[in-house]
Symmetry: C2
Subunit: 305 residues, 2 copies
Amino acid sequence: MSLVVIGSVAYDAIETPHGKRERALGGSCTYIALSASYFAKPSIVAVVGDDFATEDRQLLESKGVDLQGLETVPGKTFFWSGVYSADMNDRKTLQTDLNVFADFNPKLPAAYAQLPYLFLGNIQPTLQLGAQRQMPGLRFVGGDTMNYWINLNKAELVETISHWDFLLINDSEARMIAGESNLLKAAQKILGLGPNTLVIKRGEYGAMLFRKDTLFMVPGYLLEDVFDPTGAGDCFAGGFVGYLAERGFDLRNGKFDVTELHRAVIYGSVMGSFCCEEFGVERFRTLTRREIDQRFDEFRRFTTF
Amino acid sequence: MSLVVIGSVAYDAIETPHGKRERALGGSCTYIALSASYFAKPSIVAVVGDDFATEDRQLLESKGVDLQGLETVPGKTFFWSGVYSADMNDRKTLQTDLNVFADFNPKLPAAYAQLPYLFLGNIQPTLQLGAQRQMPGLRFVGGDTMNYWINLNKAELVETISHWDFLLINDSEARMIAGESNLLKAAQKILGLGPNTLVIKRGEYGAMLFRKDTLFMVPGYLLEDVFDPTGAGDCFAGGFVGYLAERGFDLRNGKFDVTELHRAVIYGSVMGSFCCEEFGVERFRTLTRREIDQRFDEFRRFTTF
């Protein structure tokens, strides 16, 4: 099944205790699409500058990512740089140059309009809604946001997520949106805003999925070496929505198996864990579906009692 | 089955965002024994001053706790006071008066010598080992420690835990003992020190059980209101070892089901979660085994995929 992913394509300068990279392919759309590509065909909508490298385009193409919606405009690609703390639980942004991304307003290729799945990466909420309105045949739609929009565009964000099936955020964002520090109460408040499904990522501590009548929790996968956590949350998103697209998950017809949502959280966790094993998107150069399914099985073994 | 629990019996002054208590029954031995009492018969070894209240003794007796090993000596009972941060993830100790606990050197009643299970609460490591040596018929023994002993008595601690089946500590203690920040590597190092089983508590983020050949993980139970986290880790310990005592778990005969250890971690998590629902030990005045088993079933529902 095809899946539209909207967000940033960027170059990142990253420093972790394991080393540094001066200019690595990054951006939410990149990570989500690469991760989802193991399950479904991602069609991306993003913008890059004329400095975007041919080999980066080729990496995406080699994973079957549809690049019709990747616009190239004069100027520089979005650039971000950050440095991680010794335990990698904190990171400091050193530089954010929006460059061509500053004027990003997603315009979907006609070929994308009838696709069934949409993941809206973290961009201004009104732009997210505008993109969604270009896809009238959606079966399952949702996305991400960040503290910046929660602070500055709360009303627009609330309007946008009221049209979503799922919201996929981290725990501090959930607390901010709800204005409530208790996660269970925060989740109930957020479900009251419209999405029928809320997924809360907690980094190394795992993830949770809330619906009005169910709760699902998974601990984090323990890695022997975390090389670089950049993009792990986006890879979680790619695994989550990619798996559901693969399964043809359709919330709208009233016949769906909630266990598929739980498995999607596991696949999200699996993809997030692989992402951390090498710098940037490097792990996806060698990762196979077989490894992914093996780690899914490990999750089952590690949590069965 | 009977279970010996050694540790502190104390009075606590506690302040959380939900209120305060000036003098609440506390101490590791108290929490562990109350929690374990739902599964097995705890026999405690501890010391109190002549200020120890009759009603507190009666609470323990009402739960079937054997108090033969609770020594009363002239002076005051161990007193601790602390205040929790707004999100309750941090606490500051305001006062620690060891009082009669300063000279505690566990001497077991003869009736305890042949009991099969022993949990050594957090006291000086050499005293822990001395207590263990008074019980020649043990089937399963282990305990807890804290940063203070890891810093000051590392050699004695390493000697003591080399005689244990299990070590039950939190994640920062595990990192300190191993001198290794990665939990997976830290766990392997600790298993190399002697215990065949390592349980790492992560508070609201759940718990993990490591053995040479297996890993088990459980997310934390989400509570709508955390009133007071004091004693939650000790209640985890009580549920863990209490359940195994109830099942007659016997690691030494070579025939044991590792799944029982996983279920013990779930019961530990269940007991820790109940502990937080009211101040101090209050929740145990009303808690029933039926509620405990219901929450165990909830854990299964919340983690199945």
